[in-house]
């Protein structure tokens, strides 16, 4: 069974530029999460989807971050414009409906210079 796929693995951009990350969850997983993990900290939930609807986006900085999950499968997370403090690893995870564990991708490491 294929795992959660994320791309790119690494990205370096200048502040004020825009960037997008892509996630393909495990087939059949209705729940999809995007987390931000700053160096030395635990993952922070940015947004949670159930199919293509948003369940929780309370910690998503909506003035610069956006996310979508068209057709309830793949998802993209966008930052525009990026700030230095956005430097982090962005993790995508997916799970089956209900209260099972989440499966994580390898993450995208973003460096904003």
């Amino acid at each position: 069974e294929a795992g959660v796929a994320q791309s790119p693995r690494y990205k370096i951009i200048e502040k004020r530029q825009s960037v997008a990350f892509w996630c393909n969850p495990i087939s059949g997983h209705a729940t999809l999460y995007w987390y931000q993990q700053i160096l030395g900290q635990g993952p922070k939930l940015l947004i949670q989807f159930q199919n293509n609807g948003v369940v929780d986006d309370s910690q998503l900085p909506k003035d610069r971050f956006s996310a979508e999950r068209l057709k309830g499968v793949d998802s993209t997370l966008k930052i525009q414009p990026a700030k230095l403090e956005d430097s982090a690893v962005y993790l995508c995870a997916s799970s089956l409906p209900g209260n099972t564990e989440a499966f994580f991708g390898q993450g995208t490491r973003l460096t904003v210079v």
Binding site: G40, Q41, P43, A102, F104
Partner: protein, 113 residues
């Protein structure tokens, strides 16, 4: 809302010694509890989970954890660690109503020869 506190940011230990990584949580409703491990430059991998039933749960790589409802704790233990156990460990909690998966700050386990 729920929260997770990992009481130790770093735990150094010698090879073949026992180890305990401490985790406390708070929640107004019943929860599900998880421990994840993160190796450098990788995503998170599930070690074990508590959903219901026996309070002692066994996971991969010889790890186990005990759910203590009265003390709201879910400490992770291993009787004898290996060099390869060196990694970051995260405790996570999710309420039983399909809520957010919330992570602690992480504990860096460093196993020395």
């Amino acid at each position: 809302a729920q929260s997770v506190t990992q009481l130790d940011s770093q735990v150094p230990v010698f090879e073949e010694a026992p180890v305990e990584l401490r985790c406390n949580y708070s929640s107004s409703v019943s929860v599900y509890l998880f421990w994840y491990v993160q190796y450098p430059n990788q995503g998170l991998q599930l070690l074990l989970k508590y959903l219901s039933g026996s309070t002692l749960v066994k996971g991969i790589n010889g790890f186990e954890a005990e759910f203590n409802k009265s003390q709201t704790s879910f400490h992770l233990r291993k009787p004898s660690v290996h060099i390869s156990d060196t990694a970051e460990y995260f405790c996570a909690v999710k309420n039983n109503q399909g809520g957010k998966l919330i992570f602690g700050q992480g504990t860096e386990l460093s196993v020395k020869p």
